[in-house]
Symmetry: none
Subunit: 146 residues, 2 copies
């Protein structure tokens, strides 16, 4: 008797579970970009400014970048930028590293790049200062090329 | 029922927004956002999250919004959002004000909205907490409706 009661309870739980799943699926049919469960949202603003730090730099250019699921935004090459960021799991320090053997002059004419927003559901606020424009364009890839 | 209808409408808006973005990207492949001297750049990330503050809230949705010169981004209604922001000179506190006479229950189920990026060349970092979802959808307009 105990086993039968247990079986009925289990059966009822399974049916209720199935109904709940169905109801949930039916309630939210057409919202691929609401990213509730499908994708963690990724939406970024990238800037390049003249100056040594985020607070005092004058923003010269600013673009948007979305990476869910492909690449979009006002960034001139969103697909390449998203691919590069995915390859480093959104670690912006990996895309502002040392130039690939490029020789730059050493003058101090600083540029600040920033990234703010959300990378796969995680808030991002990143700042990096390059000593001069040559350092910025020294082979770090697509992310800050705009 | 009202929520389901709203969800479908939102889904349609998102699809239309994505189509518009694609069409725009196809129509203007050559870096419309460089605009060095023409316009001060505007590029924003807007988020809605569950929680009481920016630091601890879980980001549920995040969209990009560009307002130079028109409206673009993954926001479902970028033109309306940009128009609303222009009308208040980018003062986000003006678009998260008190609901227009709407009656909301008073339970504490907080949502946090954030705006980060650049408004016409000026850095923006804005956070506002709504006591519950009703307060968020209480008539503040298009900016945080996504």
């Amino acid at each position: 008797m105990r086993y039968i009661t247990g079986g009925i309870a289990l059966g009822a739980a399974l049916v209720l579970g199935a109904l709940a799943t169905t109801a949930q699926a039916a309630a939210a049919p057409a919202q691929p970009a609401r990213t509730g469960g499908l994708y963690a949202p990724t939406a970024l603003v990238l800037t390049v400014g003249q100056g040594a730090g985020r607070a005092d730099a004058t923003v010269q250019r600013a673009v948007t970048l979305s990476c869910t699921p492909g690449g979009a935004g006002s960034h001139p090459n969103p697909k390449a930028a998203c691919a590069q960021l995915r390859a480093v799991s959104g670690e912006f320090s990996e895309v502002t590293g040392a130039p690939d053997g490029r020789l730059c002059t050493k003058e101090w004419n600083p540029l600040v790049v920033t990234a703010d927003g959300v990378w796969q559901g995680r808030r991002v606020s990143y700042t990096h200062t390059f000593a001069n424009p040559c350092e910025l364009t020294g082979g770090q890839g697509a992310v800050f090329e705009f």
